[in-house]
């Protein structure tokens, strides 16, 4: 077993925004007993000892943690590459300067659309203007800037505007992430899943822009796996390169894995090193031994690792099945039906349900 490279530190699930595509768990209240500053310091040190080199500070909205600067400083002092993943609400000039001084390496700001009204509607909060200001601040203070936009049925037709916005603000990287259907996004899948025509048009725009911008900006396009023949190689394999710590200290291979019926493993009860090597939540699907057919005999088993366990569980009720997005999966019709509905006459009839705000 290898050492993990990255830690996703989910500092809180509280958030001033209410994105209907949010991948956070629906049972947010279960995570309200958040790790204290010292507990995070210990987790970061244990992660570093385990071989972690990158620390993504996310949530919820990490800026709601009053001790964010201290946590960044602790990560930085351990030599971790620190990345703040934020909606940018709360990224004031003063806060930004303190984060800079604490050694924050990189900032990723998400925005919901390139047009103020649309962005605010999807975010459920007036926030567009503050996000643009925050992006300017990121650049002014000399950070590299990644802009992240989650794509779905309601904004994908304007992806050209998103590209232009990223260019305007001087982004170094633009992540165009097709919605992954976990948490609130799963709940809202029918409203969010785009049609094939929408995707084809967007992909043409993205390809052309990538060519045009190649010397200035990296354009990452996360494929819509419902429309792919093969699943995504989730996290580079279960518990192989990354680990996630949730706001209350549960350790997971990825944030979506909280939905699986596996015993909890908490940093409050066990050392991180033990959890990484031995906890059932980590060992359950590590490697290829757990695989059923058709994955077991498939030549792509070390390429995509049978896809996403959480998606398999969500769709079939069994986390150990082949990811149904794979066209070879015996359960593929479940995905095919959702895709068919997204291309049918009644597609997008009902608006999505906003994630409740939970800011304290």
């Amino acid at each position: 077993m290898d050492s993990p490279f990255g830690l996703l530190a989910e500092l809180t699930y509280r958030c001033p925004l209410g994105c209907a595509y949010c991948s956070n768990p629906l049972n947010m209240a279960d995570y309200s007993d958040e790790l204290a500053t010292d507990e995070w310091r210990r987790v970061l040190a244990e992660a570093r000892d385990l071989g972690v080199l990158q620390c993504h500070l996310s949530g919820g909205e990490p800026l709601l943690r009053r001790d964010l600067v201290e946590i960044v400083a602790a990560a930085h002092d351990l030599g971790l590459y620190t990345n703040l993943v934020t909606s940018a609400v709360g990224f004031s000039r003063a806060k930004a300067e303190r984060l800079r001084a604490a050694g924050l390496d990189h900032v990723q700001v998400s925005i919901q659309a390139a047009e103020p009204a649309a962005s605010d509607r999807i975010a459920g909060t007036p926030s567009f203007r503050r996000k643009i200001e925050a992006m300017g601040r990121v650049k002014e203070l000399g950070w590299p800037l990644t802009v992240n936009v989650v794509l779905h049925r309601l904004n994908i037709d304007r992806v050209a505007d998103v590209l232009a916005l990223a260019e305007d603000v001087g982004a170094d990287r633009l992540e165009l992430a097709n919605t992954q259907y976990y948490g609130w996004a799963w709940h809202n899948r029918a409203a969010l899943l785009p049609s094939r025509a929408q995707l084809d048009a967007a992909e043409r725009v993205v390809r052309a822009a990538r060519e045009r911008l190649r010397d200035r900006m990296d354009v990452l396009y996360v494929i819509p796996d419902y429309y792919s023949r093969y699943p995504k190689p989730c996290m580079g394999g279960w518990a192989s390169r990354q680990l996630t710590v949730t706001p209350n200290g549960d350790v997971l291979p990825c944030p979506a894995a909280q939905s699986l019926p596996l015993p909890r493993a908490s940093v409050r009860e066990h050392p991180l090193a033990w959890i990484w090597t031995d906890a059932p939540v980590m060992t359950a699907f590590r490697g290829t031994d757990w695989m059923p057919q058709p994955c077991r005999g498939c030549e792509r088993r070390e390429v995509d690792f049978g896809g996403c366990r959480c998606q398999a569980f969500q769709l079939t009720g069994d986390a150990a099945r082949t990811d149904p997005v794979c066209h070879l999966s015996p359960d593929h019709d479940m995905v095919a039906r959702a895709v068919e509905a997204a291309n049918g006459e009644r597609a997008g009839d009902r608006p999505p349900v906003a994630r409740p705000h939970l800011a304290r």
Binding site: L50, Y81, N83, D105, G142, D218
Partner: protein
């Protein structure tokens, strides 16, 4: 992981002897004691460096030219082919992990 030579050419830019390479500002080079290797850190990726990669990059300070880097390495090793260093830098340039400053020497830090 590595971009193909075609991708490098597409960028329209290859490294020349007079260029002064430096790491892009979103990339950091450090030593990882767990793996006992130098690593290049980037928001999404970690590249574990083998061989002379780390030494080449330690010399990429935006002041030394590629020719000077090759000469410095030649002092340490019996043979570091000039085109090997350039190919390595070409690949990182294509990924925008290395930037080139040509012309006047840079003064900022």
């Amino acid at each position: 992981m590595d971009p193909s030579p075609a991708a490098t050419r597409q960028r329209g830019r290859v490294v020349g002897g007079a260029d002064r390479p430096r790491l892009a500002r979103h990339v950091r080079l450090t030593f990882d004691r767990t793996r006992q290797r130098h690593v290049l850190l980037h928001p999404e990726t970690v590249v574990v460096l083998h061989g002379t990669g780390a030494e080449i990059l330690q010399l990429c300070d935006g002041r030394r030219t590629v020719a000077e880097i090759v000469a410095a390495l030649a002092g340490r090793y019996r043979s570091v082919p000039d085109d090997e260093v350039r190919r390595f830098l070409d690949r990182l340039l294509a990924r925008r992990w290395v930037e080139l400053a040509d012309g006047p020497e840079l003064t900022d830090g």
